[in-house]
Symmetry: D2
Subunit: 178 residues, 4 copies
């Protein structure tokens, strides 16, 4: 999960956030960006290439911390635009319920979701994007892979933190886990 | 729920379908069409005005029988186009799981969902529509109402069969039941 | 999916049901029976060993046709008792929405879910069972496997019709797909 | 939402938590406790009577902050035991996904969910309880109301913070919103 540029509380210093991270779970949203056909079927999954909290350069889904006074929906849009650019046209789901919740811990053994910096509780959404997506800011690349490709062992090995599991859970949720 | 024009099995006569309806549950899809804003929040719910199985002219959601060899996704698109026209641009959800299942019975006391013709098991979806919607075929009118309007008592009284409940369940699912 | 003993409409002859199966989708419920710990985590998945519609003897989940005038909840209880015995104590979920919908077709290429007899639309539920489960009626055996075991290739090969996919989708839904 | 006794990080002083609450969203779980029949149908909803963050004594659902290094499932069990006693036998759902997410803000206009102390993001679950429930710790009373009773205007007026909406959303999710 990547650091955000905190537009709303820039006064939250690096020290402040470190202190909080050692004491409380931090709440995140994550989004698996997908291309869908006219019947809603997933045709492609979008994976970023980025520096991850564990120090690796890995393929990853969209991720960001919910800011003080920010709505979950706003946070999703803000992070999708941050990572996929301003004309990605994300289709935020009408329901506020995530399809799964990922719990990241500094200890990778607890849940399989790993973040060396913090205990994060992440609401994970599947978000169709219709527009022109291009990696922006921290991301080095954006690749659109078919469901078949994205579950291949070589692709899975390019993901860390548990993002490969989240991608497969998203596919299962969408009825296209083979 | 309305009768379909069976393009795939036109040989299923009125008599045949009557016979089956007396013996087995019939599987339907239903869709609550909505307008959403850029953050996925429902702004309007679309209600058709149509002749209903109970003989009334009522406000209703989109509804249709799944045909032999037809996919749930195809059936949703076909019925949304039948009722809202060919350029409604429905956003079929990526997940095949409905947000609720409505069970219609000839006896209105069993579940509160009533269809005098049959026992129907209906998979109900919430479907954002971005395009130009106009009532087609059997529908007499299409009205877009805000969440506040659609739960008003006078509007609810214009719905039969349990469609008012499905609309409120859809709003609850989307986090906007007040 | 197995044939039911139709207690409510025994007058539905083998010929009648064959006729209908050739013309309309038939609506089913299916249940992935699981053991859970006190925090709701899946510890074991229950798999039956039974004769399948494709002629094989395979591991399978609980399955049955919804009868005329039968509620989805009743149908789940009836089929769980039929397959797991009368003291399985199934915990039917409060929500009527299945976690996924499986569409079975005579042509195995359409969806990956295959039933040579019919087009079936199946509402699939995850059902914790607390009681004493023993295979009854048509089932030859019942095995409780851990999530790790149930996704092993050798176990997956003992399932047909797409039941291995449903089991993995159930695990993904429960957050325990590795 | 009530204050927790922090067994895991008692060193988090009142001042520390106040500081954090002014800067970051705090992540909570909430549970709507229900009695269900053998087919999973809700028969009763459990409402506590307690002191609320807004200073009122109101009817409320179960609620608590997720502690550092605590799993969502553990947090649900801990708070259900805290409020309903040690033998409530809560049935934590197998899926980690809440049925809805409630966003509480100090400003009651933002979302309709109100907490004067903080911005809280709450994962809300529906939890059947089979055991003997008795209010413990902070709660003054526990009442089990039928779905019909719990949505009555006089009962709704006894809830604050938006808990009446969460109860109706839970009923809608369970298919029993009338």
């Amino acid at each position: 999960m990547s650091e955000n540029v905190d537009t709303r509380n820039a006064w939250l210093s690096k020290d402040d956030i470190s202190t909080m991270r050692a004491r409380m779970p931090i709440v995140y949203v994550e989004a698996v960006p997908v291309r869908v056909d006219s019947e809603g079927r997933i045709t492609h999954v979008g994976l970023l290439l980025r520096a991850m909290p564990d120090g690796s350069i890995s393929r990853a889904i969209v991720s960001g911390r919910i800011l003080y006074n920010e709505r979950v929906r706003e946070c999703l849009v803000r992070n999708l635009e941050k990572d996929l650019g301003p004309v990605a046209l994300p289709r935020i789901p009408p329901s506020p319920a995530p399809f799964t919740v990922a719990e990241y811990f500094p200890d990778p053994e607890i849940s399989g979701f790993h973040d060396p910096r913090q205990h994060a509780v992440s609401l994970v959404f599947l978000v169709p994007c219709d527009g022109d997506c291009r990696p922006s800011q921290d991301a080095l690349d954006l690749a659109w892979l078919t469901p078949d490709e994205v579950i291949r062992d070589d692709i899975r090995l390019e993901m860390t933190s548990g993002h490969d599991r989240l991608v497969r859970m998203a596919l299962a949720h969408a009825g296209c886990l083979f």
